[in-house]
């Protein structure tokens, strides 16, 4: 066993797939940053709100005023450096830190695909992605034609986890039996050309989409692993992601996934892609001096392998942490994030906060739009950790205004996947007496229905 493992980790392969992946990743990230900036989202999401929702334990990560723009500049530049393979190791570490910092500034904007970028860039910090076809190679006048095979496979493994776990999460009664939430989302796409006014309105189509989505996620990484099915599977990937891009506002994610899954192809395919870049370089009259070819010696493999082993163990276990909580996951969202639960819920909520003077009994309701952006209010209304954090903020605010003996109660209603709205938070609980922790939140009222499945 040990011998097998050792020999596996000593296997070598051509670095072209990793080089193409590095270039693709860097360019996509650069494009994402530019897109984000050009839409004015830095200002809208990070500078305009007077209050930001933090991750538990990361309350110190906040937008840094106008320096937030600088943060995005650093992030974008490091992405470019990654693409070029210039000072790769520093560039990818800088990218990982700056990107993750940006994502931690406000959990209102949490998206699974941002999380994917964060952990992928973490993994890439350990990979020799600049071994081949990089400016680093030109500078050191040395290029490697063999790198450890596991480095490329680790990316395949991460992609596989994302797909398979997203598929597993779809195995639940709302998704498969009721075709929810697609049954809500698809009919509202009535303005789509050709499809909008017919199939989008059909129940069989919602069902077919739910089931094929689940089967697609569960199987696509395996079909990509086998050479015979790979071409067909990649065509499916392109179709699926482009189709979801048309249907839903999911930004760059579909393109990132299409580019990322190229890594499953073998080196010959990537050499052809790199030849495209080489031709481009020739046209631009960029000529590299002769580069010595050498065999890559992975340094510190003994330390890095256990680190990555731990990383993947966490990746495999984290999505199942919801099992430790007693209530319905979709309702309480305890253990929902960082688990590849993508597009599973249509959740809407309404939460009004009541500030009570415990001694005089006087109370008043809070106008949420005085403190939160509409986007923040929307996210806050359906997620208990947001509700608690916001209540604590309101206490600070009103205490500073001179209010005394403050207690805060909420009138909160949530509707999940087409069910009628139900009271969400116990209206008799003073939120200020509750503290954020990983323990189950017993002030969330129980879910009155049953969602079966994983």
């Amino acid at each position: 066993m040990l011998i097998k493992l050792t020999s596996y980790f000593n296997k070598q392969t051509h670095p072209a797939p990793l080089a193409v992946f590095r270039i693709g990743f860097g360019l996509m990230m650069l494009a994402s940053i530019i897109r984000f900036w050009s839409y004015g989202w830095i200002e809208k999401l990070y500078l305009e709100p007077q209050f930001h929702f933090s991750y538990y334990g990361f309350e110190w990560v906040k937008p840094i005023g106008n320096y937030t723009y600088l943060l995005f500049v650093i992030c974008g530049l490091s992405a470019l450096f990654v693409a070029l393979g210039l000072k790769y190791r520093i560039a990818i570490i800088t990218f990982f830190i700056s990107f993750t910092y940006i994502e931690f500034m406000d959990k209102t904007t949490y998206l699974n695909h941002y999380y994917f970028i964060s952990i992928l860039s973490f993994l890439m910090c350990f990979l020799p992605a600049n071994a081949y076809f990089s400016l680093d190679a030109i500078i050191r006048k040395k290029q490697y034609h063999q790198i450890p095979k596991w480095t490329i496979n680790s990316i395949k493994l991460l992609l596989g986890i994302v797909y398979v776990y997203a598929g597993l999460a779809k195995i639940n009664s709302d998704w498969l039996c009721k075709a929810m939430p697609l049954k809500i989302w698809l009919p509202s796409k009535y303005d789509l050309p050709f499809l909008g006014e017919n199939v989008m309105q059909q129940e069989w189509f919602h069902m077919a989409m739910s089931w094929s989505g689940m089967l697609y996620d569960l199987t696509i990484p395996f079909f990509m692993l086998y050479k015979r099915t790979r071409g067909f599977a990649f065509a499916l990937i392109v179709f699926f992601h482009v189709f979801t891009r048309v249907l839903f506002p999911i930004g760059m994610f579909p393109y990132v996934m299409i580019v990322a899954t190229l890594i499953f192809f073998d080196a010959a395919v990537h050499e052809r892609i790199l030849n495209g870049f080489r031709k481009l370089c020739n046209v631009l009259k960029l000529k590299a001096s002769t580069i010595e070819i050498s065999n890559y010696k992975f340094q510190n493999q003994k330390i890095i392998l256990p680190i990555l082993g731990l990383f993947f163990t966490i990746q495999l276990l984290l999505p199942f942490r919801y099992l430790l909580y007693p209530n319905e996951l979709f309702w309480t969202e305890e253990g929902y994030r960082f688990s590849w639960r993508v597009m599973l819920m249509e959740k809407a909520g309404y939460t009004e906060f009541k500030v009570v003077d415990a001694v005089s009994g006087h109370s008043f309701s809070v106008n949420n739009s005085d403190f939160l952006t509409p986007f923040q209010e929307k996210q806050m209304s359906t997620q208990p950790d947001f509700i608690l954090e916001y209540a604590k903020y309101l206490e600070q605010h009103f205490a500073a205004q001179g209010h005394k003996n403050i207690e805060i109660y909420v009138d909160s209603f949530v509707a999940l996947n087409g069910r009628s709205s139900e009271r969400y938070i116990d209206p008799k609980v003073d939120l200020l007496k509750q503290t954020e922790s990983f323990k189950p939140k017993n002030w969330i009222l129980p879910f009155k229905d049953d969602i079966k499945g994983l």
């Binding site: 699974n112 989302w185 017919n198 999911i250 109370s363 986007f375 509707a415």
Partner: protein, 370 residues
């Protein structure tokens, strides 16, 4: 091997997941006609409301002119009646903050209350004002007229004296005249805009943030939550402050019509929800029928009935209130807060259940999802 495992897996999942399936599927072939809904909104509700408002405001100009020419008690009474009639119709118009009305902030120029007496008096004294200026939003429109017609003094004789014997009588007459003329020109502007805007409105049926359906639903929600629930009842009843604020009721100086105005507004909202033609019993495609259509896909609870029932509950609570909300707050504020709570329950149904069913974004959040 892989194929077999996959097959077994699929069957297991099927059996496990759908053993308690509650589908009563009936194929949905009909498509809801959104253009018909927009047409109904424009042709049978919005435009008739504006036209009616325009007539009422024009009539108010006539009565105002009579009053300015001869500030007598009789002319004051006629002027007040014209104001009352226009204010009543306004309750059906305020929610449509779209097109020209949105561009010129029609609502803000017509009905911001409580009105600001200091601003009004400064304008009267300086005689140098731009009524359309944002800073004058609380010194114009129906609430400013409320003050000019009822609030200058305790009795009619003293009020009239401001327009007759007072040293600044000419300034008072000029201001009240300018107020009404401004309201007329705004109303005409908005009413006439629909001759061309109406088609644009109907054609823009896309499900985007700027589509007519999304925009009007957002207007409807916003007006229900802020204009009706908070401004008319919640704020004066003290739901947003430590103590009640009875001087923040609508038509505070006239005093005895705040219940009538709130009832008109709630009725208008209910009628819009049900697609009922303005001043008629005929109904057309509406949010209610849209929800019914979506329900045939979803097999959920009959949301349109729930919403209508809650509107009725809220109305019956309002019916128990005094004609003057200010008096009601002084006598027994709990009845006010009960009415507020009933209105609030409809906010939940509209904002949570209806918006989820319609899958309309509440605002202009255009960040990515996943």
């Amino acid at each position: 091997m892989l194929k077999k495992a996959f097959l077994i897996f699929t069957i297991t999942v099927l059996a496990m997941a759908c053993s308690t399936s509650d589908e009563s599927s009936g194929g949905v072939t009909d498509n809801f006609d959104r253009t018909a809904m927009l047409t109904n909104w424009a042709d049978n509700i919005i435009v008739p409301v504006y036209e009616d408002l325009n007539i009422a405001v024009t009539n108010m100009v006539t009565e105002k002119d009579n009053f300015v020419n001869a500030p007598t008690q009789a002319n004051l009474d006629s002027f007040r009646t014209a104001w009352y009639n226009a204010y009543k119709i306004w309750q059906s118009a305020e929610m449509f903050n779209i097109g020209r009305a949105e561009e010129i902030n029609f609502g803000y120029q017509m009905n911001i209350y409580p009105t600001n007496i200091t601003d009004i008096q400064n304008n009267i004294q300086s005689q140098n004002y731009d009524l359309a200026n944002v800073n004058n939003n609380d010194a114009v429109g129906f609430p400013a007229l409320d003050y000019m017609l009822y609030g200058l003094a305790d009795n009619d004789m003293d009020i009239l004296s401001f327009y007759t014997s007072n040293a600044d009588a000419a300034k008072y007459l000029a201001y009240v005249s300018d107020l009404v003329n401004q309201m007329e020109s705004l109303t005409q502007d908005v009413t006439q805009s629909w001759a061309t805007y109406g088609q644009t409105f109907i054609d823009n049926a896309n499900n985007t943030a700027t589509g007519s359906i999304n925009k009007l639903i957002n207007d409807f929600m916003f007006y229900y939550e802020k204009g009706l629930r908070a401004n008319k009842i919640g704020i004066p009843a003290g739901n947003f402050s430590t103590t009640p604020l009875p001087d923040k009721v609508e038509a505070y100086y006239r005093n005895d019509i705040s219940k009538m105005l709130a009832t008109e507004a709630l009725t208008a909202m209910k009628d819009f929800f049900n697609g009922k033609h303005y001043n008629s019993t005929t109904t057309g495609e509406s949010l209610s029928s849209y929800l019914d259509y979506l329900n045939t896909i979803k097999n959920g609870e009959d949301l349109s009935v729930l919403i209508n029932n809650q509107f009725d509950t809220a109305q019956s609570k309002i019916n128990t209130l005094d004609d003057s909300f200010a008096d009601q707050i002084a006598m027994d504020n709990t009845k006010m807060t009960e009415a507020y709570d009933a209105l609030q329950m409809a906010v939940v149904l509209l904002k949570v259940d209806m918006l989820q069913a319609l899958n309309v974004s509440v605002d202009y959040v255009d960040a990515d999802g996943d």
